[in-house]
């Protein structure tokens, strides 16, 4: 069989794995037979990625709920979307899940929320989305049956490490700079944040 590279689509359905075209005086497959079902890669997210993403997402929801119940509720919706995205193999749903996680933080901003769990929630939510999206990429490229454990674990670890480092630095700075800042300091913080994020745009 020709192992042509699968195209990463926005919405990839598992049914697109390809069945034999049985129409009229059918063209014979090369070699006179169709590859057995076991050999056609299933376009499904590898089990490890699915489990890791759902676990990280659930932890993120728990942290969100610890910060504020409203945020936890929105986070639960995000988790449901993430599970749906991994089940039907859809990148669009995965993006929607990421956006819903962001909305959970907006909900946390609107309600009185404790800061420390939100930092943890942010690290976990970013990692959960990253692992899920990576798993969707693997589903498109190599499918579920291929050996992917090492790749998935390395990616998940890297993702968590990056998030944790960012979170630790941010939380450390916030602890040091704790105290009643004037409003002008907040304005400068906002300005600085916007400049940094703008600089980091692609």
């Amino acid at each position: 069989m020709s192992d042509a590279r699968a195209v990463e689509g926005d919405a990839v359905t598992p049914a697109a794995a390809g069945g034999p075209d049985a129409s009229g005086a059918a063209e014979a497959a090369p070699g006179g037979r169709e590859a057995p079902a076991a050999a056609v890669p299933t376009r499904a997210v590898p089990a490890l990625s699915t489990a890791t993403a759902v676990m990280l997402g659930a932890l993120a929801v728990a942290f969100l709920a610890a910060a504020s119940l409203a945020a936890g509720a929105v986070g639960l919706l995000a988790l449901a979307l993430l599970v749906a995205a991994l089940t039907v193999v859809s990148r669009r749903l995965c993006r929607l899940a990421g956006a819903t996680f962001a909305a959970a933080f907006l909900a946390a901003a609107a309600t009185p929320a404790t800061p420390a769990p939100l930092v943890g929630a942010a690290v976990l939510a970013v990692a959960a989305w990253d692992v899920a999206d990576h798993g969707l990429g693997l589903a498109a490229h190599v499918g579920r049956e291929a050996g992917t454990a090492r790749n998935e674990l390395v990616h998940a670890a890297a993702s968590l490490a990056v998030g944790t480092a960012g979170g630790a630095v941010a939380y450390g700075v916030s602890l040091v700079a704790d105290g009643g800042q004037p409003v002008s300091a907040l304005v400068f913080l906002l300005f600085g944040g916007v400049v940094i994020l703008a600089a980091l745009r692609e």
Partner: protein
């Protein structure tokens, strides 16, 4: 190299959360935005991966029997910098089916590290060489993606043995050499042919003594001479001949090649001279000959020559039937008869059979039926094919129809009982 744009949208989300956090004077969301900022900083710093890989492929056996499972082990070694995200798609030849484990793998490799994965292919007749392995590498955060190929030469040759005892009666076009095809020439042999006037020197055993007793005149019995034939097996292997009643069934070309092998084996054993050629854009010509060396040559040609390959020729090399026929006629010995194998789903093989038959190279057409028994399309194709075959029969070509589920030996036996020399 491409950018995956997988983090697109994170900047917007982080800015929104940051803004809303500042507006509501809530430190938590601001810190959450800072986490996103950290990821974005790493993304900005990520460099595209430069995969430098060496691939080694080990086949369990390079010359398996047809239908045997062959385990393929692929080892990939990282000869450059660390690659945290690597996806491999092995270039399995088109003619081979992967029966166990996809020929794909994803891993991450430190410098000098190697990864091994394995899959199993089912050997099919022919000479197969592996295509380059496709490598997709991403940086740790998945911003850049680079797709390249790495090549490792691997070849699998699967040559079925010439076997089978399916004999097909040949037509009466022979060489001057002794063999097993009864001719209309009177001489030495077994079967009665004619009686002629006695000439001095005729062997006494051949004198018709009954007649001498009855009439008093001496007469000599003439027997049919048995001679060897020169047979060229021609397999229609144009891309249109790669048809089967159902997708998972053997194609007409595959069945034709098997039948040609069986027939060639039987004819060689009977002392006939056998050659082979493919009516295909991919040229193949095995000149008619006898002997065990020639037998091996014929087996290898039918087994591995690209012209008889299990996968059809590409559209890039078209066939001009007239030119093919001219070249084929130049090569063909004058006394050669043809056995043409074709599903006859279009006209060129029909014209070829008719022309060559008219030119004196008597043609026997063996036609494996590729039309599905059900469905309007299949029935229509079957009717068209039936008309073509009827036309050929009326043109003096011998036609052997070979049903989709029938073994060749059965079809040949059926024909042998019906046809006379």
């Amino acid at each position: 190299m491409t950018r995956t744009r997988r983090w697109a949208g994170l900047v917007g989300a982080a800015l929104l959360v940051l803004g809303v956090g500042v507006v509501f004077l809530s430190p938590g969301p601001v810190l959450a935005a800072a986490v996103a900022g950290g990821v974005l900083a790493v993304r900005a710093a990520a460099t595209p991966p430069e995969p430098e890989l060496a691939v080694q492929r080990r086949l369990e056996t390079a010359a398996p029997e047809p239908g045997a499972d062959v385990r393929v082990e692929v080892t990939i070694r990282n000869e450059g910098d660390a690659l945290s995200d690597l996806r491999l798609l092995d270039g399995v030849p088109d003619g081979l089916a992967v029966v166990d484990g996809p020929a794909r793998h994803a891993t991450s490799l430190r410098p000098g590290d190697a990864a091994t994965f394995a899959y199993t292919v089912q050997a099919a007749r022919g000479h197969h060489s592996w295509n380059p392995t496709t490598v997709i590498a991403r940086d740790p955060v998945g911003v850049h993606e680079r797709e390249t190929t790495v090549h490792a030469e691997s070849e699998l040759r699967c040559v079925p043995a010439l076997q089978g005892t399916a004999g097909l009666p040949l037509r009466g076009l022979t060489t001057p050499y002794a063999g097993r095809v009864s001719t209309d020439v009177g001489g030495d042999g077994i079967e009665f042919h004619a009686v002629r006037e006695y000439r001095r020197g005729d062997p006494r055993a051949r004198v018709d003594w009954n007649r001498a007793a009855r009439t008093g005149e001496l007469a000599t019995l003439q027997l049919r001479e048995e001679r060897a034939a020169t047979v060229v097996l021609v397999v229609d292997a144009r891309s249109t001949a790669y048809v089967a009643p159902e997708p998972e069934r053997e194609s007409a070309v595959e069945r034709s090649v098997h039948a040609a092998g069986a027939l060639g084996n039987q004819l060689l054993a009977a002392g006939d001279r056998v050659g082979a050629s493919a009516f295909s854009p991919r040229d193949c010509w095995v000149a008619p000959d006898t002997g065990s060396g020639h037998r091996a040559r014929l087996r290898h040609a039918l087994g591995t020559d690209p012209a008889f390959a299990p996968s059809p020729p590409t559209a890039a090399d078209p066939i001009v039937a007239r030119l093919w026929r001219q070249r084929f006629r130049r090569r063909l010995p004058t006394e050669a008869q043809l056995i043409l194998f074709s599903p006859c789903v279009d006209d060129p093989p029909v014209r070829l059979a008719r022309r060559l038959n008219a030119l004196g190279h008597l043609v026997t057409l063996v036609t494996p039926d590729p039309t599905p028994p059900s469905g309007v399309g299949g029935r229509l194709a079957g009717l068209e094919r039936g008309l073509r075959l009827a036309g050929l029969r009326s043109g003096g070509v011998r036609v052997l129809e070979w049903g989709p589920t029938e073994p060749f030996a059965v079809a040949a036996d059926r024909a042998a009982r019906r046809w006379s020399g």
